[in-house]
Amino acid sequence: MTTVSSASPGLPGTGRPDGNRLFGPLPDVSGDAGYEPDHPARVGFFTDTSVCIGCKACEVACKEWNTLPMDDANGTRDQMALSGMSYDNTGMLGANSWRHVAFVEQVRTVDLPMPAVGLPGRSPGTGDVHAHDRVMADDAPRAAQTSVLNAQSLSEFDPQTGQSGDREIRWLMSSDVCKHCTHAACLDVCPTGALFRTEFGTVVVQGDICNGCGYCVPACPYGVIDQRKDDGRVFKCTMCYDRLTDGLQPACATACPTQSIQFGDLDELHARADARLATLQGQGVQTARLYGRDENDGVGGDGAFFLLLDEPEVYGLPPDPVVTTRDLPSMWKHAAAGAAMVVGVVLTAFVGRRP
C-alpha cells in the first residue's frame, strides 16, 4: 500500500544528473513530478501591480467560485471586522482567503530632486521610444502588453498618485496569491502526499487526503497556506484546477477589470512581464521590479510572479525567500551525526569497569 511518493524530489536514481532536485532552476516541473512528456505547458499568473486599482474583484471571484467562508483580517472564520489599518480588511492570505489585495499608502515630499513616478520629466513619447528599443526584438509580447497596460495614459495621469500641498501621496495595491513555487516547500514536507504537483505545474491540496498535520503551514516561505481550524485541514489557491481542466481561466484572472492579473503559459507571461518592465523603466519608473520571475532565486522561480513598485517587504512579501528543503540534506546529515552520537555516548557509558 505504501508507495514512495512520485511527488517527492531528491530521490536517488530518479533525479537529474546533478542529483539536486531540491533547489535551483527546473525547466519542466510537471515532467519532474512524473508526468508524461505530453503534459500541458506550465501555467501561471503575472500580477502587474502597477495597474491594480484595488477593486478586490479577484478576492470576490475566488471566494464565490471556491465557496470560501467569510473571515476577518486574522483569518477567524465567520467573523466580520475592520482591520483598522487601511482599506485592507482581508489582512492576509489564509485558508479562507486565497487572494489578498494589499493596500499600502505612502507619502513623499514633492520638492525632492527625485525622479517622479507619476509625472516623468520627459514627454511620454521619449519614454516610449526607449522602451520600444528594448522590446523591439520581440513584437508579440510588446503588442500584448500595450493592449493591457494603457502605458501612455498611466504616465500622464496616474490614478494611484495624488498631491496635496508639498506632499505627494500614492497607493500601492497588489493582489497576492499562492506562488505555485517551482520548489514548493509545502509540497516537499507534506507527509501524506495530499499536496501534489498538477500536470499544469501548479500545486494543489487534495482535501480527501490531508490529515491536518499542519506541516505545510510553517514550511511555506511566503506564509500562504493555512489551516481551517474548525475543519482541521489546510486550504490554499488551486489556481482553479477545476476550471483549468475544463479549459477555463482562473476565476480571479477572469474577473480582474484592469488585467492586473494575467493568466497564461508561464513562458509567455515571462516575456510579457519583461516587456512591461522595460516600458515602465523607460518611462522613468525606476522602482519597478519583477518579483518571483528569476528562476535562480531561492525557490526556483514562482509560478505566480509580480511586478512591484517598491521593495517586496512593503507588500508583505519576503525579500529573499528560500525553499527550506534546500538545506534538508545537510539537516539529515546533522541528525544522523546526532543519532550516532547518542548511541556512542550510551555505549561508552556501559563500557569499562563496573563501579
Partner: protein, 366 residues
C-alpha cells in the same frame, strides 16, 4: 535600511498611521535595552519595512503543549531504549526494566500526542500512505511506528514474565530471548528518535528554527540523553545506574553547549531565544539542567540524590523543548526576523556579485 531617501525608492515612505498606538508602524526601531538580561550584544537595532507589521511567514499551527511534549517524550524514550538494550546484556535487571518501561511509555504517549495534534485525527494512517524523504514528518512516522511497536513489545514481555500463569507455560523460556531481540530492534530506532524531531522543526520557514539547523539536532540529542539518562537513573538503584549517570552528565553538557550555540550563534535570529516566555523557559531549563547535573555527581551514593537529579534533568529537557518551540513561534510572528536576515543575505550576495564584476556592476541595484 530599505527604500529610504538615499535609495532608488524615490523617497516614498509609508503614510502616518491613522491613529497612534495602533499596531503596524512600518519602520520600527528596537532598542537593545529591551532584550532579556542575557541578550546578545552583537544584535544591532533593526530597521526594516513591513506590511503594517504583519507576519510574513505563518507560525506553525501545532498545538501547545502537545507538540513540545511530544518532542520531549520522543527523545527521552529514544535514549531509554538504547540504555535498556545495553542493560539487557550487562546484567542490570532493574535498570533494564525501568528503561524499557520508560521507552514504551514515552513512545506510546508520543504516538497519542502526534495523533491528537492532527487536524483530522481519524486520518492518522494517511501518514503511512507514502514515504517521502523530503518530509521529516513522513520519515519520523516511519521511525516512530516501528519504535513504538518494538518498545511496547519489549515492555509487554517484561510484564508477561511476571505473570505466574505465563511462567508455567513451556514457551516461557523463549521470552527473554524474544525480548532481547525486540529491545535491540527498538534501540536501532532509538538514536534517530532523538534527532528527527529537530529536523522537523528546522525544516520550516520559521526563522529561529531554520537558521540553527546544524545545532538543533545536537541540542535535541543532548536534551534527550539528559532526560533518558536522568529518568533511568531515578528509577534504578545506584549499584545499577552507573551508566545512566554517565549518560545524564554527558547529555547535560551537550545540551548546555548546543543551547549556547543556538542562542548566540545566529545574530538577530537568536534573539527570540532570549525574549519573553521562550527566554524565561530556557533560563529555567538551564537552571534545572545544571542543578540536575550537579546532583548526579552525588547519585552514586544516595538514591534520593539520584531521584532528584533525574527529575531535574527531565524537567530541564522538557523546558528546553518548550523554550525552543516558543522561540520559533515568536520569530514567525514578527516580520523582523524574516525581513532583516533576508535583506542582509541579499546585500551580501550583491556585494559579492559587485566584487566579481568589478566596477561595472556598481550601477546594478537589484
Amino acid at each position: 535600511m530599505t527604500s529610504g531617501v538615499a535609495t532608488p525608492g524615490g523617497g516614498w515612505r509609508r503614510a502616518d498611521p491613522p491613529s497612534t498606538g495602533t499596531r503596524g508602524d512600518q519602520r520600527r526601531t528596537r532598542k537593545g535595552g529591551r532584550r532579556g538580561r542575557d541578550g546578545d550584544p552583537t544584535v544591532e537595532d533593526a530597521e526594516f519595512s513591513s506590511y503594517y507589521g504583519r507576519p510574513i511567514v505563518k507560525p506553525a499551527t501545532w498545538k501547545n503543549p502537545e507538540v513540545p511534549l511530544y518532542l520531549f517524550l520522543g527523545g527521552a524514550a529514544g535514549v531509554s531504549s538504547v540504555i535498556g538494550a545495553l542493560g539487557e546484556f550487562t546484567g542490570r535487571p532493574v535498570l533494564t526494566r525501568a528503561a524499557h518501561h520508560t521507552a514504551a511509555g514515552g513512545a506510546l504517549a508520543s504516538v497519542v500526542l502526534l495523533i491528537v495534534d492532527l487536524g483530522r485525527p481519524m486520518r492518522f494512517l494517511h501518514m503511512l500512505r507514502v514515504f517521502k524523504p523530503t518530509s521529516p514528518l513522513s520519515v519520523g512516522s516511519y521511525i516512530l511506528s516501528p519504535f513504538s511497536a518494538l518498545t511496547v513489545a519489549t515492555a509487554g514481555l517484561h510484564v508477561l514474565e511476571l505473570v505466574p500463569a505465563v511462567r508455567a507455560l513451556p514457551v516461557a523460556r523463549w521470552i527473554p530471548g524474544v525480548r532481547k531481540g525486540a529491545a535491540v530492534g527498538a534501540a536501532v530506532f532509538g538514536g534517530p528518535m532523538t534527532t528527527y524531531t529537530a529536523v522537523l522543526l528546522a525544516n520550516t520557514a520559521t526563522p529561529s528554527w531554520h537558521e540553527p539547523y546544524e545545532e538543533l539536532p545536537f541540542l535535541f540529542a543532548g536534551s534527550a540523553l539528559a532526560a533518558g539518562g536522568g529518568v533511568s537513573m531515578a528509577l534504578s538503584p545506584p549499584a545499577e545506574s552507573g551508566p545512566s549517570r554517565k549518560v545524564a552528565l554527558a547529555g547535560a553538557a551537550i545540551e548546555l553547549a548546543a543551547a549556547h550555540r543556538v542562542e548566540h550563534g545566529h545574530g538577530l535570529v537568536s534573539e527570540p531565544y532570549h525574549l519573553g516566555r521562550a527566554g524565561r523557559l530556557l533560563r529555567a531549563a538551564k537552571a534545572c539542567t545544571i542543578g540536575g547535573a550537579g546532583l548526579t555527581l552525588l547519585a552514586g551514593r544516595s538514591r534520593t540524590a539520584g531521584v532528584l537529579a533525574g527529575a531535574l534533568l527531565a524537567t530541564g529537557s522538557m523546558l528546553t523543548r518548550f523554550g525552543v518551540f516558543d522561540a520559533g513561534m515568536a520569530s514567525a510572528r514578527d516580520p523582523k526576523y524574516t525581513v532583516v536576515p533576508q535583506r542582509e543575505r541579499l546585500a551580501a550576495r550583491q556585494a559579492e556579485a559587485a566584487e566579481l564584476a568589478g566596477g561595472e556592476a556598481r550601477s546594478v541595484t537589484r
